[in-house]
Symmetry: C2
Subunit: 133 residues, 2 copies
DNA sequence: ACAATAATAGTAATGATTACTATAAAGAAT
DNA sequence: ATTCTTTATAGTAATCATTACTATTATTGT
């Protein structure tokens, strides 16, 4: 995999944020520095970087994929109202016992798991309170 | 929500299987009994039944949504090779402690979580062994 | 600098899902 | 049972995220 300016900037910009942007959001971010980059290049590099383990592709909800500049396994919480996705710092190993249990009962060779929490973010909770009054 | 023959058959067929079919797979299943049903009707009813809590919509992987005739919260394991999705019967309450921890540390009002395991199904493990020889 | 080849920009194609609309069916009222 | 109101359907068109294609450009090893 060659080191192109486009690939480099995509990775840099994605690692700057914790907002789990969609491909077109990454495109807008990168365009500030590389105004001539094409959307296809963004898609292709997000795919390649993900396959290379440099970033993560998240299928959190909605129609668009979201991308995470943090390649380490970690958990997320998604707000059901505004769609915001935040990082959690729960220890991943809390689930390792469960992985073993799944392997035993299902016969699967388990290589990992994905866990996300759903709810209302602090901001949207405040909004709800306003409406209740 | 009116009880139409189409809606009824879609729900019945989906509850017959544990295979988590895609919309077009449901379409094929239902067409055996209602040859004139349209794909749009299948999509619309899967959406409505899901919103009504009669079934679940799963965003497991790939481009297509999958549907689950079992509306109760339960976990899944997906095979990375063949895509098969099986049900697990882990107790959901094993994660309730984690939900509380997430609520405290993130400020989210947590209303649920989604957990899936990734790995190789028994059948695909056998295939791998063949290749190793 | 040169050659080999991987990557890009721009554009077209794909494919799952959603929207639209005239017709039909369901359920309530009579 | 008949009529009426409203929701749902079939068939089709439109949408939109993503992928594929291709001529040109950039990277990297020599
Ligand atoms: Mn993250
Ligand atoms: Mn299931
Ligand atoms: Zn929110
Ligand atoms: Zn398999």
């Amino acid at each position: 995999m060659r080191t192109t300016r486009q690939r480099q900037v995509i990775l840099e910009e994605l690692r700057k944020v914790t907002s789990h942007p969609t491909a077109d959001e990454v495109y807008e971010m990168v365009r500030k520095r590389l105004p001539h980059i094409s959307l296809g290049t963004v898609y292709r590099n997000l795919e390649l970087l993900s396959a290379a383990g440099e970033i993560q592709t998240l299928g959190l909800a909605g129609t668009q994929k979201r991308f995470d500049g943090n390649p380490a396994n970690h958990y997320h919480a998604r707000c059901l109202k505004c769609g915001r996705v935040i990082d959690l710092d729960l220890p991943v190993k809390a689930l390792n016992g469960l992985e073993d249990a799944v392997a035993e009962t299902s016969g699967f060779k388990v290589v990992g798991h994905r866990l996300k929490f759903l709810g209302l973010c602090p901001r949207c909770q405040k909004e709800e309170q306003k409406q209740d009054r």
